[in-house]
Amino acid sequence: MAAVTSSPSSSAAPGNGRWTPLFLAGPAALLFAALVLTPLVLTALLSFNEFEHATGRTHGFTVGHYLAVLTDEYYLEIFLRTFRVAALATAICVVIGVPEAYILSRMRNPWRSVFLLVVLAPLLVSVVVRAFGWSMLLGPEGPINAGLVALGFGRARMLYSEGTVIVALVHVMLPFMVIPVWTSLQKLDPSIEQAALSFGASRGTAIVRVVAPQILPGILSGSLIVFGLSASAFAIPGLLGGRRLKMVATIVYDQYLSDLNWPMGAAVAVLLLVANLIIMLTYHRVVEGHYRRRLG
């Protein structure tokens, strides 16, 4: 009898209820653990191994690599540059992406579909190909420099600068800002903006006072994605920053493949992960804390 009903009073049901979600989430959780956590744990363990240029990696335990990174100005500068570049790229993505998403949401079909495709199209092209595209465009013999020379200005050195890396990062990351903001705009009741207008607000005031606060969660998640991906980006700084402009991901690569100092590379990678986590969690807490009660 009890087996037939799903009444909450039966003693078997709550037990089932408790284990069902765990059971259902199990396979995905296992896959995740195997593919994400295992390499992470191995990397973390590796970072504590000792390293000698003569003998290579040994299995002794040391925190020396961490101390080296944290006390060496060379590394600190690269970390600072990485987060500065990521923060600027994120800020520019907010400035461009949020209005873009808003305009997109106000368009009617078929234009909306067409422009949404335009926004997403860069994702269909490999990052490496796009980085080469930028380097051809901005290179000394590229069309921009040709134009500058034709107009009587001198050649400008644009490659291998922070600005170029930021521009290319913005180009790559923009869809990751537009999509979450667009999603939260879709959830907006259009009559709320009409309400603001009907009470005498100008369109600008309506956007600032009424629309923007409601899409803040979208802007928040968009900027977390963009910041996280930018701070750990490898291909773009590698190809457009070159040897001169190093970022954290590129020195990890150098440590692994040029110096063959795997433990050092692992230590830098772990530090990047931790720093990224701290920055993102703080940002999340500060911004979302303001709006938790209001928007739920």
Binding site: I192, Q194, A195, L197, Q214
Partner: protein, 373 residues
């Protein structure tokens, strides 16, 4: 000139006329409802008054001023939206205060007016809450307070009660009317619910396929519907097709499926406005409201019948009576006496004055009351 005037306003989407030649005059302080099934153009009309939808042709005048092309944010109207459209990131107080802020009302006066408005809708203790912490009825009242606090010349209500449950809807109807009387604001409400429109409006505007088909007091619309559509849309009605057999002075004899019925020969005049007395041989449709039919003992009354269904509605009984004219609906008050049994033979009677006559044949349209939802 009236306070709010719509003159021949038309809204065209492509080749579709959403609203055609709507002309309406609303007096200061009046409560007018636009009533009709969904897609009849009532909401589009309201949105044109609000300024959210452009008028294709015609003009709108408010207090002598032409506002046809004025932007929504310069009209100063108070609007209550169907979804309430409260600002979710602002407290109740800030929601109500928003319109006053936009009008640059000084802070101290703003505070006093917001508190007064919240008092009026009995929400003063909730000023610090966010909309999502309120019930549906409370949100509705915040929306109302937000609209009246700016002292708008006209209050526009877009299906204001449709998201509330039945019990609350009824209570809010009376409260809405009470508040509107206290503030004295000219109000235009859009609704598809005839009970709602009838109970609180001074006048009801019935719309059908983008056009106004009748503007009248609720009682007049119920008792003297101008079209067969209205008689079906507002309340229940028995529609009986027949042919005029003979006209003699004040009376006409109509044959309903072979059953002769006497009616007032002038009663064609108030239906459809075509005027004039009925002529012999004319096709007509008689309308009799179910509550106007009297069920008498078997063998009495105008027609014989047999109870085929009965429904208990609390204060009333609704009977379906099979007879020579098909199935008729009859409503009797629940006065405490025993109801009629199924299959009981009865007589059906009515007084000639309750019969409304539509000229022409009955359209085979589906029940509009069902379409409305």
């Amino acid at each position: 000139m009236s306070f709010l005037e719509l003159r021949d306003i038309t809204k065209t989407y492509g080749t579709l006329n959403a609203v055609s030649d709507v002309t309406l005059s609303v007096e200061k302080g009046e409560f007018v409802s636009l009533l009709g099934p969904s897609g009849c153009g009532k909401t589009t009309t309201l949105q044109m008054i609000a300024g959210f939808v452009d008028v294709t042709s015609g003009s709108i005048h408010l207090d002598g001023r032409d506002i046809t092309r004025a932007k929504a944010n310069t009209r100063g109207l108070g609007i209550v939206f169907q979804t309430y459209a409260l600002f979710p990131h602002m407290t109740v107080f800030d929601n109500v205060s928003f319109g006053l802020e936009m009008q640059r009302v000084p802070k101290s006066e703003r505070r006093a007016r917001v508190e007064e408005a919240l008092e009026l809708v009995h929400l003063a203790p909730y000023a610090g809450r966010y909309p999502r912490e309120l019930s549906g009825g409370q949100r509705q009242r915040v929306a109302l307070a937000r609209a009246i606090v700016i002292r708008p010349p006209v209050l526009l209500l877009d299906e204001p009660l449709s998201n509330l449950d039945a019990k609350l809807r009824e209570a809010m109807q009376f409260e809405l009317r009470d508040i509107q009387r206290k503030v004295g604001t000219t109000t235009v409400m859009v609704t598809h619910d005839q009970a709602e429109a009838f109970s609180i409006s001074d006048r009801v505007v019935v719309m059908e396929a983008g056009r106004i088909t009748q503007i009248d007091q609720p009682y007049r619309i119920y008792e003297h519907p101008q079209t067969e559509f209205i008689s079906r849309f507002v309340g229940k009605t028995n529609l009986l097709p027949g042919t005029v057999k003979a006209v003699s002075g004040a009376y006409a004899s109509v044959s309903l499926a072979g059953v002769p019925v006497e009616i007032d020969s002038q009663s064609g005049a108030d239906m459809g406005g075509k005027g004039g007395a009925l002529a012999s041989g004319e096709t007509v449709t008689l309308c009799i409201r179910p509550e106007k039919l009297r069920l008498t003992g078997a063998g009495q009354g105008r027609l014989p019948g047999r109870v085929s269904e009965r429904y208990f509605l609390g204060s009333q009984w609704l009977y379906h009576v099979d007879g020579p004219l098909g199935t008729l609906m009859a409503v009797t008050p629940n006065d405490g006496s025993a109801p009629l049994d199924l299959d009981a033979p009865v007589g059906v009677d009515w007084s000639p004055s309750v019969v409304r006559v539509h000229r022409g044949a009955m359209a085979e349209a589906p029940d509009p009351a069902l379409e409305a939802h």
